[in-house]
Symmetry: C2
Subunit: 225 residues, 2 copies
């Protein structure tokens, strides 16, 4: 621990004592702080295999709410590890989620990351059918990668369309990461996914985000590694 | 309002009545819900020019905490509009933040979006000097784009280095968006930025994120437009 050369001067000037500004220590320190705040009894009661995912989500959001809202359904952790080790493609609903996924970690398993939201054919079809691009993207994924990990961090309509296509046996993701955020249909869409038999990691309620979806993927790479 | 063709069937099957799944209505409905929950007295007391930024941040996070934590310092809104209309480059600390910025909106003003975190020279120098890449990126920005908008959604050390370079007159951002998230040095770094005379939009406390930084940029494009 302790300051590096460049922050020593800053500490002297400001009177602030930084916990650490060393790259290799910041993350470790953060995780220690998170575990300290969660407390021993929470940590002891939380399923051990799921804990690294929760810790990384809290690290990404500084929001302890996820301690209550994160749900692991239908053997999600085991399914996630299998899917990653098989090198299944990861489909995200936003470029932000795709951008937040650690490509080096994904690459080790041969997992490619795809996002169709900006594709011209998706845009055109969405406009034509008065659908969201997120929902049309799911249809494209069902055609190209029916066997995949689907990570939804933004658009609840992606989860709604996923739900329908799963029921119609047109897509069968090995894992759904369902963390869309917002106000319209978000809570409902997440609950519908939890009614399927597909392994899923879902942040119940309104909160979530592309950053949360990416953080979950990145935590899963560590577990699978 | 009302369901589209593809969700009518889903509504019948599930018994859920979706508020709307029409792309053009989802955002409007979301903002109505946010304003309703904030309440009339809050809305009336919140500075009118800053409100669209707050609403978009809450829309992005579903977190009303930002109603208290978002701070606009040193004429931030006026400075932001001027900077955007001048087409100043926007430097982000993460590719996720860069990815979340609406490029079409930025392009209308001629604002380019840059992120140096993945650059080889930044990586090497950070390793050599035992600094974070976020901090080294600020030095690179100071050399290439001293007159810029700097949006920090993740790394507090970027704000610490910005603070130092501002004091050394080596960079003078027209606006700092300071919304890093986390546990180590995050609160302190944000407070230091608020001690400068640089116009700044800062999410005080631990919370924030690359998504928040991008959302603020996107809200500012609308205000400047």
């Amino acid at each position: 621990m302790g300051e590096t050369d460049w922050t020593k001067k800053l500490e002297e000037e400001t009177g602030i004592r930084f916990r650490t500004t060393r790259p290799e220590e910041i993350e470790r320190e953060s995780f220690l702080m998170i575990q300290e705040e969660l407390g021993e009894s929470f940590l002891a009661s939380y399923p051990e295999t799921q804990l690294p995912v929760l810790l990384r989500v809290i690290h990404t959001t500084a929001d302890f709410y996820y301690g209550e809202s994160l749900v692991f359904a239908n053997g999600a952790m085991e399914a996630a590890c299998r899917a990653i080790r098989r090198g299944l493609p990861i489909i995200t609903d936003t470029t932000m989620a795709a951008s937040g996924i650690n490509k080096a970690a994904a690459g080790k398993f041969g997992c490619q990351v795809h996002c169709f939201i900006g594709d011209e054919d998706v845009k055109e079809e969405a406009k034509h059918r008065s659908m969201t691009r997120a929902a049309v993207s799911v249809e494209k994924a069902a055609r190209l990668y029916p066997d995949c990990i689907y990570a939804v961090g933004n658009g609840p309509t992606a989860l709604l369309r996923l739900y329908e296509l799963i029921r119609e046996h047109k897509i069968r993701p090995a894992l759904i990461i369902g963390t869309p955020v917002g106000f319209v249909n978000v809570v409902e869409a997440k609950e519908l996914i939890l009614q399927t038999e597909v392994p899923a990691i879902v942040a119940r309620g309104r909160k979530g985000g592309s950053n949360v979806a990416a953080a979950i993927c990145n935590a899963l790479f560590r577990t699978a590694g």
